[in-house]
C-alpha cells in the first residue's frame, strides 16, 4: 500500500474551485484519464501520472480501492530517465575515438561531435532503466484538504500541476506565510502583518558565536 505506509511525512493543501467536492464517479474518471501511461524510451526527463493506491503498477481505479472512509486514496507516480553525466562523457569519448579511427581523420568537426554525442545519448537512454517512484495521496473530500506524502519542491510542483489539470480545481499549499495572510485577512489584522518585523532575541551577553 503506497498510502499511509510507515511514519508519515506530508504536505497539506486546501482545495478550492467550482465543485471542490467532486463525485466518486468523476474522481475515478479523472484518475483514469490522467493515469500513468509509461515513460518514453527516447527522451530524457520525467513522466507523471496517477496510479491506484496499492502499488507502483496498480492502474485499477475502483470504488472499493480508492474510497476509504472520508478519503479518496491514490498515488502520484513519477518515472525519471536520465543518463548520468560521467557515463555519457565516457561513452562519447570512446565513440569519438572510434569515429576518428574509422574515418582516418585527425579531428572531428563540431557538428560531427554533436551528432555522435546525440547518438550515444539515445543509445544509453534506451539501455537505462527509469527510476520509478510513487507518493501516496489522501484527499479528505468533504474537508477539501489534500495531503501528499512528499515534501520536495520538484515533486510538490509537479503534483500540484497534475492535480489541478486532472480535477480542474485549485490547490493552495498550507505554507506559513499564506496561512498568516489568510488569518490576518479574516481577523482584520493585515496592517500589523504588513508592519511585522522579524523578532530579534540576541543579547549582548551571549558568550560565543554559534557555528
Amino acid at each position: 500500500m503506497l498510502v499511509g505506509k510507515g511514519s508519515l511525512t506530508f504536505r497539506s493543501f486546501d482545495v478550492s474551485g467550482k465543485n471542490a467536492t467532486p463525485t466518486k464517479e468523476r474522481i475515478l474518471e479523472r484518475l483514469e484519464t490522467f493515469s500513468f501511461a509509461g515513460i518514453d524510451t527516447i527522451e530524457e526527463g520525467s513522466t507523471y501520472g496517477w496510479v491506484a493506491p496499492d502499488h507502483l503498477f496498480d492502474g485499477d481505479f475502483d470504488v472499493a480501492k480508492v474510497f476509504r472512509g472520508r478519503y479518496a486514496l491514490f498515488a502520484f507516480r513519477v518515472d525519471t530517465r536520465r543518463v548520468p553525466g560521467p557515463l555519457l562523457q565516457a561513452h562519447t569519448a570512446i565513440a569519438w575515438r572510434a569515429a576518428l579511427e574509422a574515418e582516418g581523420l585527425e579531428r572531428l568537426s563540431a557538428r560531427q561531435k554533436r551528432e555522435i554525442k546525440q547518438d550515444v545519448k539515445r543509445q544509453l537512454l534506451a539501455e537505462t532503466p527509469p527510476a520509478q517512484r510513487a507518493y501516496g495521496v489522501f484527499w479528505n473530500l468533504r474537508g477539501r484538504r489534500v495531503f501528499l506524502q512528499n515534501t520536495s519542491k520538484s515533486v510538490v510542483e509537479a503534483f500540484r500541476s497534475l492535480f489541478e489539470r486532472s480535477f480542474e480545481l485549485e490547490l493552495t499549499p498550507r505554507l506559513p506565510g499564506l496561512q498568516a495572510a489568510a488569518f490576518a485577512r479574516a481577523a482584520e489584522r493585515l496592517d500589523p502583518l504588513k508592519n511585522a518585523r522579524p523578532l530579534d532575541l540576541a543579547t549582548r551577553s551571549a558568550p560565543v558565536a554559534v557555528a
Binding site: F147, G177, Q179, A181, F183, L199, L201, A202, A206
Partner: protein, 185 residues
C-alpha cells in the same frame, strides 16, 4: 491569488521561525498546555532534533540532538546569539492520543509522524488505514490551531508590549543557567 499577494505572504514566512521559538518558550515557561479554538485542549513538548538558524543568514546555525537538547547550554547560547528555532521534533498529546513528529518552520510540513493511542489499540478500529490518515489530519489541525494562536498574539499590540519582553527574559534566564552549568563543569 495574485503574484503580489503571494510575494507578500511568502515574505512573512519568518513568522514560522518565531512560532516554533515561541512554542518552545511557552512549553518551558508555562508547561505547554493550550486550549485551542475548534481543537480543544492539547499538550505540547519540544522533544529533540533541534535545528536553530538566523533568518537570512544560512552560515550561522546550530543543531542539537539527544540528551535533553532544549536544556543544554548550547541551546541557550544559540538563542542569545539571535538564532531562532527552525526545526524540531515535537510531542503533542490530545485525549488518549500522542503524536511524535518533526516540524519545519520553512514550510510547516509534518515529517515522520508517529501516533500512539492505547485506547484505539484496545478498541481495534474498523479501518486501521483510514484511522491513521484521520489521525495525521487531526495533528495537522492541531498544528494549524497552534499557529493561529501564535498569530493572534503576534498581530496584537500585546506582542511588542508584553510577549517580546517575556521571550527576552526567558533567553536571559536560560543563558544565566547555562553559564552556571558551564562554570561548574
Amino acid at each position: 491569488m495574485s503574484n503580489d499577494e503571494l510575494a507578500f505572504a511568502l515574505e512573512r514566512s519568518f513568522l514560522a521561525y518565531e512560532f516554533l521559538t515561541w512554542l518552545w518558550f511557552r512549553c518551558e515557561v508555562e508547561g505547554g498546555n493550550f486550549d485551542l479554538d475548534g481543537v480543544g485542549s492539547v499538550g505540547v513538548a519540544v522533544d529533540d532534533g533541534l535545528s536553530l538558524a538566523r533568518l537570512q543568514d544560512d552560515e550561522l546555525k546550530a543543531s542539537l540532538r539527544g540528551g535533553n537538547p532544549t536544556g543544554r547550554p548550547e541551546a541557550a547560547n544559540a538563542l542569545a546569539a539571535g538564532l531562532l528555532l527552525k526545526k524540531a521534533r515535537l510531542v503533542v498529546a490530545k485525549g488518549s492520543r500522542e503524536w511524535s513528529f518533526g516540524l519545519d518552520a520553512e514550510t510547516l510540513d509534518l515529517s515522520g509522524v508517529k501516533v500512539v493511542d492505547p485506547q484505539a489499540e484496545e478498541e481495534e478500529p474498523e479501518d486501521a488505514l483510514a484511522d491513521k490518515l484521520s489521525s495525521a489530519e487531526e495533528l495537522r489541525e492541531i498544528v494549524d490551531g497552534l499557529f493561529r494562536e501564535f498569530l493572534a498574539l503576534r498581530l496584537d499590540d500585546e506582542w511588542e508590549a508584553l510577549e517580546v519582553g517575556r521571550l527576552r527574559d526567558w533567553v536571559r534566564t536560560k543563558l544565566e543557567r547555562a553559564w552556571q552549568v558551564v562554570g561548574t563543569a
